[in-house]
């Protein structure tokens, strides 16, 4: 029962309270780059969720099975980035084979998932928070992905409507997106302090 509670709290915590995009500023590049249309944003969110789940789980296992017992922590960043690059390559091949249209519309942003800070950030946070059960690491990884998907979809919805709005010329494009993101963050601050 205790474990279930920890897992559930951890999951809700990482999806809304400690959302990586809104409170830790991770994954801002795709968040600003791919949030133009809602279907693309959702596709991006799914790809990131998959990669982050795979990468979070694998890096946790590598960290605990190989690096820590042999005190090879120096190699941590090198290993993590290699695992992430491999996972992204896998997703890229899968999407190109089965969803060619989506692959075309992503363009350069698909390989750029490798440099999505949300993914490496989560792997590092799992280590920093001292998560010591595999199950919790998996749940947190999935939660981080879902949190990212939610954030990017909300943003895409707002930006679709923003196209019709009368924005001052110098604020068009990235600036207004950043200001919108700021207001969204303000809304999500209402959840702060609920858990942890």
């Amino acid at each position: 029962m205790d474990t279930l509670q920890t897992l559930l709290l951890g999951f809700i915590g990482i999806v809304v309270v400690n959302n990586l995009v809104f409170t830790k500023f991770l994954g801002i590049c795709p968040y600003l780059g791919v949030s133009g249309r809602i279907d693309m944003a959702f596709g991006m969110g799914c790809a990131v969720t998959f990669v982050v789940t795979l990468a979070g789980t694998l890096t946790w296992m590598i960290d605990h099975c190989f690096l820590m017992p042999y005190s090879l922590e120096v190699m941590r960043y090198l290993c993590f980035i290699l695992v992430i690059a491999g996972a992204v390559q896998l997703v890229e091949m899968y999407v190109r084979k089965f969803f060619p249209a989506l692959y075309e519309s992503f363009g350069v942003f698909l390989p750029l998932i490798t440099t999505n800070c949300a993914i490496l950030g989560l792997c590092l946070f799992l280590n920093l928070w001292g998560i010591d059960s595999l199950l919790e690491a998996v749940v947190l990884s999935v939660g981080a992905g879902i949190g990212f998907t939610m954030a990017i979809c909300i943003m895409a919805g707002i930006r679709e409507n923003l196209e019709l709005a009368d924005v001052p010329e110098c604020l068009q494009g990235a600036p207004i997106t950043l200001i919108t993101a700021g207001l969204l963050t303000l809304a999500f601050m209402g959840f702060a302090g609920m858990i942890r």
């Binding site: 809104f22 500023f25 994954g27 440099t115 590092l124 010329e169 110098c170 600036p175 200001i179 303000l186």
Partner: protein, 205 residues
């Protein structure tokens, strides 16, 4: 020779204004927002980024003739990860408090798009000197932007700068807590981008 000098100067100052990585190319946004609550961490972050950028540009530029196109991204990433590990260990050893407060954002330099972007766009095509100047210019542009944003936020959020009170200002200033939070970061950066767009348009017209 003089032509050469002019283009080197152009490369350097281009990184600061014309091709400023954050304000013009929109690269490296995550650390930009995350470490700018105060000037000190921002400066540390900026210097670390300059070091990593210099290291990776030098290595990539010296190895550019040996690189096979299909493994180059992997090679860039591994070079950067090595440089970041060095910077991280250095900070842990000599500035433990700063390292603890920056948390995962030093290792996150690995996935800072500026560094891999410069390795791809400049260092893998140009000689050693141009690459070094480019790294310094881009790094300086990044650090300056980081510090300006951090200074605005720190002054508005606490009424102090470098954690020191400002005479005749701190006494009556009412701290604006929102500026120290994520909200302040997003909105200030948004307005800064807007201001840069406005200046560009005014100077071109």
């Amino acid at each position: 020779m003089s032509d050469n000098k002019i283009s080197l100067g152009k490369t350097f100052f281009g990184g600061i204004w014309d091709n400023n990585p954050v304000l013009r190319l929109l690269l490296g946004m995550c650390p930009m927002l995350a470490v700018t609550a105060a000037v000190k961490p921002a400066l540390t972050m900026g210097v670390s980024v300059i070091f990593v950028l210099l290291f990776s540009n030098i290595v990539v530029s010296s190895l550019r003739h040996q690189l096979k196109p299909h493994v180059r991204i992997l090679m860039f990433t591994l070079t950067i990860a090595t440089a970041v590990t060095i910077a991280d260990l250095y900070l842990k050893a000599f500035m433990p408090e700063m390292s603890a407060s920056l948390g995962p954002f030093i290792p996150l330099i690995i996935v800072n798009c500026i560094i891999i972007g410069r390795a791809e766009a400049c260092a893998s095509k140009n000689g050693l000197v141009v690459s070094i100047i480019d790294a310094l210019g881009m790094g300086a542009g990044f650090t300056i932007t980081l510090c300006v944003l951090a200074a605005i936020r720190e002054v508005l959020a606490t009424g102090m700068i470098f954690e020191q009170p400002i005479p005749a200002f701190t006494d009556f200033y009412v701290p604006w807590a929102g500026m120290g939070m994520p909200v302040g970061a997003f909105i200030t950066l948004g307005l800064m981008l807007g201001a840069v767009n406005l200046i560009t348009k005014k100077t071109q017209a």
